[in-house]
């Protein structure tokens, strides 16, 4: 799912890094100052959620949930994803150092798009939110896979085969992620629906 160091040519790595940096700045400006520590904590929660492995055939896949990050955080999602990726790279070396920009784009852009889709179409009722949330979960992975393939394709014609394989490998993941995102949204609808209304307008409990 991640691009490692050494795949993208330096120009592409620097270019995607610059775009990611600009998007991060935009995303943190869209977040109210009060909410910044919350974005950090939510990023940590998604980081940990990504450590959950779901069985798939003979192996298992770990959750990515870009669509759900977008649905819950709105414009702050990009910032949260960059935080998560930096920490993943620092702690486990997933995603590398020079490829951080590319990885931020391939997770962050679908998250922003899915966030928008979810806020526009979510409507009322558990069932509808579940369906829209599930679609966002699937779309998020499709978007990530397409951007991954695009970045590989831009890295040189020799990577075309790898790009095709990466696209194919994501197909089963799309269904798993869509289903799990739908179930997560349903759970949140029942347990804490205000988490789905708009990012970070939760009323704090007054003592």
């Amino acid at each position: 799912m991640h691009i490692s160091d050494g795949v993208m040519p330096t120009s592409l790595a620097l270019g995607s890094g610059a775009i990611s940096l600009a998007l991060t700045a935009w995303s943190s400006r869209m977040t109210r100052g009060d909410d910044l520590p919350k974005v950090a904590v939510v990023a940590a929660a998604f980081f940990v959620a990504a450590l959950v492995h779901v069985p798939l055939g003979p192996t298992s896949v770990h959750l990515l949930l870009p669509g759900l990050v977008g649905a819950l955080l709105g414009p702050s999602a990009f910032l949260a994803i960059v935080l998560g990726l930096v920490l993943q790279s620092l702690m486990f070396q997933f995603g590398g150092l020079t490829a951080l920009g590319g990885n931020a784009l391939l997770m962050g852009l679908p998250a922003l798009a899915c966030g928008l889709i979810f806020q526009v179409f979510k409507g009322e009722g558990v069932k509808r939110q579940m369906i829209v949330g599930g679609s966002c979960g699937g779309l998020g992975i499709i978007g990530s896979a397409i951007i991954l393939a695009l970045l590989l394709f831009l890295s040189g014609e020799d990577f075309l085969g790898v790009a095709k394989l990466a696209l194919a490998a994501h197909l089963p993941v799309v269904f798993i992620e869509a289903l799990i995102a739908a179930f997560i949204i349903r759970f949140l609808c029942k347990v804490k629906p205000e988490m789905l209304t708009a990012p970070f307008t939760l009323k704090r409990n007054k003592l």
């Binding site: 991640h2 490692s4 160091d5 050494g6 795949v7 330096t10 991060t24 700045a25 100052g33 520590p37 919350k38 974005v39 950090a40 904590v41 939510v42 990023a43 940590a44 929660a45 940990v48 959620a49 450590l51 492995h53 779901v54 069985p55 003979p58 192996t59 770990h62 949930l65 819950l72 910032l79 960059v82 935080l83 930096v86 920490l87 620092l90 702690m91 486990f92 070396q93 997933f94 590398g96 150092l97 020079t98 020799d158 085969g161 790898v162 095709k164 394989l165 799990i180 995102a181 739908a182 179930f183 997560i184 349903r186 759970f187 949140l188 347990v191 988490m195 939760l202 704090r204 409990n205």
Partner: protein, 306 residues
């Protein structure tokens, strides 16, 4: 076709395919084992970044600002290399630097193991799918003329693996030779917004808290006879599991934020790291950058620009 081609008989293809299947099976099993091990670790076993140990090596006493900039520049120079010999040289430089830090090797090995699944895919796929250019050496099995193994593709894959390993080996010298707070403060001193490094520090702390929560919930599920298999109900359980994790962390977020405000948090933690910027810091940074530039120059001058 002007490509030098090596024809090999069928049985060798069978042998290689057999080896591939075994490798793939081993990879699948190891991924599964790793996933299991990760979820069953005792509390707080996620790797911690940074260290508070006193300076033991030239890298420990290196000002984090200079260390960050120099290692970033070195990493970008390394990924620009195009010749196998130079990539091996860069890898050797990284290993020497790592030896200088006198850090345990296990952490660096774990970083490399984490990437190997992705890199192995390159090693298998690239020889089969690289575009055949004039001058490429090919290996053809039996009558499989349309699917030759391209040795140039294999070379590309090996170069990528070498670069990725080099950068991975530089991460421990970068991170484990100073407290995380100092590294992040250094990050904000060199132009990354203060907010971002502040958030990284908070997120890093709460990852460990939430991981403990994840494990507690997991053992709770197992005590209630949860078994991970391929039914839809399992996915539903996973959905509820992650949903609960999110709800709990959202609620904790508010408590944490209130507590931080009650202690006077106003957008940044008080920093207590001293940055000096002595001549030796400059010297180390220039040395590392010079090694990187030297490698790149040698790479290009010996024909890597082609």
């Amino acid at each position: 076709m002007s490509n030098p081609t090596l024809h090999l008989p069928w049985p060798i293809l069978g042998l290689i395919l057999g080896l591939l299947v075994v490798c793939l099976w081993l990879a699948v099993v190891s991924v599964r084992k790793m996933a299991d091990a990760l979820e069953r670790q005792p509390d707080g076993m996620l790797p911690l970044i940074g260290c508070d140990a006193p300076a033991r090596s030239p890298l420990h006493s290196w000002d984090p600002r200079f260390k960050l900039v120099a290692i970033l520049i070195f990493a970008f120079l390394v990924v620009s290399l195009k010749q196998p010999v130079m990539v091996v040289a860069a890898l050797a430089v990284a290993i020497i630097i790592l030896a200088f830090t006198r850090l345990p090797w296990s952490r660096s090995l774990r970083r490399i193991m984490a990437m190997n699944g992705f890199l192995a895919m390159f090693l298998i796929v690239m020889p089969l799918t690289s575009v055949v250019q004039p001058g490429d050496s090919l290996i053809v099995f039996g009558t499989f003329e349309s699917w030759p193994l391209n040795l140039r593709g294999m070379k590309l894959a090996l170069i990528i693996i070498g670069k990725a390993w080099t950068v991975a080996l530089m991460m421990e010298p970068l991170l484990a030779t100073a407290p995380l707070g100092a590294t992040l403060e250094g990050l904000s001193r060199i132009g990354i917004p203060q907010r971002v490094s502040e958030l990284l520090l908070i997120a890093h702390r709460y990852i460990h808290v939430f991981f403990g929560e994840l494990q507690r919930m997991r053992s709770g599920m197992e005590a209630r006879a949860f078994k991970s298999d391929h039914r839809l109900d399992t996915l539903k359980d996973y959905g509820n599991f992650v949903g609960m994790l999110l709800v709990r962390s959202f609620e904790r977020t508010h408590r944490v934020y209130d507590a931080m405000q009650a202690r006077g948090y106003a957008g940044r933690m008080p920093g207590h790291f001293q940055f000096r910027g002595q001549a030796s810091d400059w010297l180390k940074a220039l040395l590392l950058a010079a090694i990187g530039i030297g490698l790149l120059l040698a790479d290009r001058l010996t024909g890597g620009g082609a």
